[in-house]
Symmetry: C2
Subunit: 322 residues, 2 copies
C-alpha cells in the first residue's frame, strides 16, 4: 500500500515541490500537490493520505486516515477548539513558526508610524496641507513591552534591539526567562506593568486565556503616551474600550493588523478612530518569499523527524492552544 | 570688553542652557539665550557677538562682528550660496551633523511602507474595504543603494544592516570607501548602477552638483521593482519624470520627505501620484529629543575647540557646499 502525503497550498514554487519530494522519497512517500482551487481533487487523495500539509479545516475533515496534519499557519486556534476536525486524538498537529520576520518588519513599520505621528500627518496630507512639525519619539532608547514571547515575539524583540531599544520586557503565561528579553513577567503581573508601558506589542495566540486579555479595565491602566500594537488575534482586545481611549486621547495611538470580526464591517467605529493605523491582516501571510521558504523548510525538517520516528519539532499542545 | 555668544533657538531645555553656559564660562564667554520669537532682541546682542548658534540667515546678517556661526541645521546650501550673509570671509561656518538617527528611522519606516505595499492598502482602507493580500518584500536580504555617504547616509546604512540588509552600496562624489558600506562608487558610475537598483535612498546636500541629479534620463534607467526615497533636498529629483514613472508603473514606488517647492502647492501632481508616500519635511527637524541633545553636544564640542584655538570639527567647506 502506498504512503501518501497530500499537499494543498498556493504558495509553493517548483523548487519548494522538489525540496519536499526529495525528502519524502527517502521514506517511500508519494507527494501529491494541489492548489486551493483544486481542493475537491485534494480531498480524494487526502482520504487515504497519512500526512496533510495545508491550511484549511475543510480539507482536514475529509482526511480520515491522517496521522499528521502540518498547518502552514502559526495560529491554530480553530483546530484546537474543534477535535472533530481530526480522524482521532492521535493525529498529530504541528504549526508553522515562520512568521516572525515578516511580522517584526510590520511591527517596526507601524511602531515608527505611530512614534512619528503618521496618522496625524495623514490627515493633513489627505487635505493637501502642510502644517508644520509635531514632536516625535524614537525606537532608539525606547522601552518595548512584548505580550507573547513565542517565535513572533522573539523576532520583534530582536528587531527592536537591533534598532537600539533600551529595554525589552516580555510578558508570557509562565514568565520564564527568554533569550533576547531583559526581563519576562507572568501575565499575572500585567496590571502592575501597564501604567508604565511605552510601546505594548501583542503577539498572542487565540485561546480562552487570551480572549480580551487587554480588557477595558486594562486599557484604563495605560498612560497617555502609550502605544498599543496588535499582530496576534483581534479577540485579544476589548475594541470598544480601545476606540474610546484613542478618541479621548487617553492613549497616544494604536496599530491593529487583526480585528474582530474580520473583515471589519464598513461602518465599524475602528475605521474612524483617532491615531489608529489599521491594516487588513497583512503582517503575516505567505506574501514574503522568505516566509514561504522557511515554511517549507520546517515541514521538511518535521518530515525527516516523522520518518525517523522522532518527535515532531513544531507540535501544538492542543489543550493549551499553541 | 565682554565676549558674547548669542543663541537663538526654540528647542533648548534648561538642561541644554546649563550645559552651554558651563562650557562658555570656562572661556570667559557670556551666553545670551533667545527664542525665535525674540529675534529682534537677539539681533541687538548679536550685533556685538563673537559666536552665533542659530538657524536663521536673517539674524546672521545682523551680526557684524561674528567670528563663528554654528548653524543648528545640517543643510547649509543657503549660507554657502550667499557670502553677503557673513560679516567677512573669515567668519567660520559649522553645521550640525546630528540628524542621522531621526532620518534613518524615517527611512526605515517609509522603506517598509513601500516594500509592504502600504500606499495600495491605504486606497483600500480609505474605502473601508478589505480586499486580500499583496506580495511584499523585505529589508532583510535587500540591496540598498545609498546616494550620499555623509552622517545621514551612514546612519541609514547602519539601520538597514541591523535589520539584515544583504548588500549596501554607497555612491558619493569621491567614491572613497566608507565604513558600513560594502562598496562605494563615484557619482560618475551612477548610470551603470541604476538599472540594478532595488532601493535607492537619496541623502544629498543641496548644491549645484546635486541639482536634478536624478534626472529624467536617470529615472528612465530604473527598473520596475525600484523604490526611490529622498530625505535630502527636493531639488535633487526631476519631479515631473518621477511622477510620470510612478503613474505608469515604471518604478514600484517612492517616498519623498522633501519636494520642490515646499510647501507643495495644493494642486501639484505629486499629491496624487501612484505608490507615493509623501511626508511634509519631517524626517529631520528638532522633533526628537535625541536630535536636540546631540545638537547641543556638538555645539559644546566645537565651543571647546574654538576656545582652545583648535580647528572646529564641523566646519563647512563653503565652496563645496557641505
Amino acid at each position: 500500500m502506498s504512503r501518501d502525503i497530500c499537499v494543498c497550498l498556493d504558495f509553493l514554487t517548483d523548487a519548494h515541490k522538489a525540496q519536499i519530494r526529495a525528502v519524502a522519497e527517502k521514506g517511500g512517500f508519494t507527494v501529491h500537490f494541489f492548489t486551493m482551487a483544486q481542493m475537491d481533487e485534494a480531498a480524494k487523495v487526502g482520504a487515504n493520505a497519512e500526512i496533510l500539509y495545508s491550511c484549511t479545516p475543510k480539507l482536514l475533515k475529509q482526511c480520515k486516515k491522517l496521522k499528521w496534519y502540518c498547518c502552514s499557519f502559526a495560529g491554530v486556534d480553530l483546530y484546537c477548539k474543534d477535535p472533530t476536525l481530526f480522524p482521532g486524538p492521535d493525529c498529530q498537529l504541528t504549526n508553522s513558526n515562520v512568521y516572525g520576520l515578516t511580522i517584526s518588519e510590520h511591527t517596526v513599520m507601524v511602531t515608527l508610524m505611530l512614534l512619528r505621528r503618521m496618522p496625524e500627518y495623514k490627515v493633513w496630507m489627505d487635505d493637501h496641507k502642510w502644517q508644520g512639525v509635531l514632536p516625535i519619539r524614537s525606537i532608539k532608547d525606547c522601552h518595548l513591552t512584548m505580550l507573547g514571547t513565542g517565535q513572533i515575539g522573539r523576532c520583534i524583540a530582536h528587531s527592536f534591539r537591533a534598532l537600539g531599544a533600551a529595554k525589552i520586557t516580555g510578558v508570557s503565561r509562565s514568565g520564564r526567562p527568554v533569550e533576547g528579553f531583559d526581563e519576562v513577567y507572568p501575565v499575572a503581573k500585567l496590571d502592575q506593568l501597564l501604567p508604565e508601558v511605552e510601546i505594548l506589542v501583542m503577539a498572542l495566540p487565540g485561546t480562552d486565556e487570551t480572549q480580551k486579555i487587554l480588557s477595558a479595565e486594562r486599557v484604563a491602566l495605560l498612560n497617555e503616551q502609550a502605544l498599543v500594537i496588535n499582530v496576534g488575534r483581534g479577540t485579544a482586545i476589548d475594541q470598544e474600550a480601545l476606540v474610546a481611549a484613542l478618541n479621548a486621547g487617553k492613549i497616544a495611538g494604536a496599530a491593529l493588523d487583526v480585528v474582530d470580526p474580520e473583515p471589519l464591517p464598513p461602518d465599524h467605529p475602528l475605521w474612524t478612530a483617532k491615531n489608529l493605523v489599521l491594516t487588513p491582516h497583512v503582517a503575516g501571510n505567505m506574501t514574503l518569499p522568505y516566509t514561504c521558504d522557511r515554511n517549507v523548510d520546517q515541514f521538511c525538517e518535521d518530515l525527516e523527524n516523522y520518518m525517523a520516528g522522532r518527535p515532531l519539532a513544531h507540535t501544538v499542545d492542543r489543550s493549551r492552544g499553541y
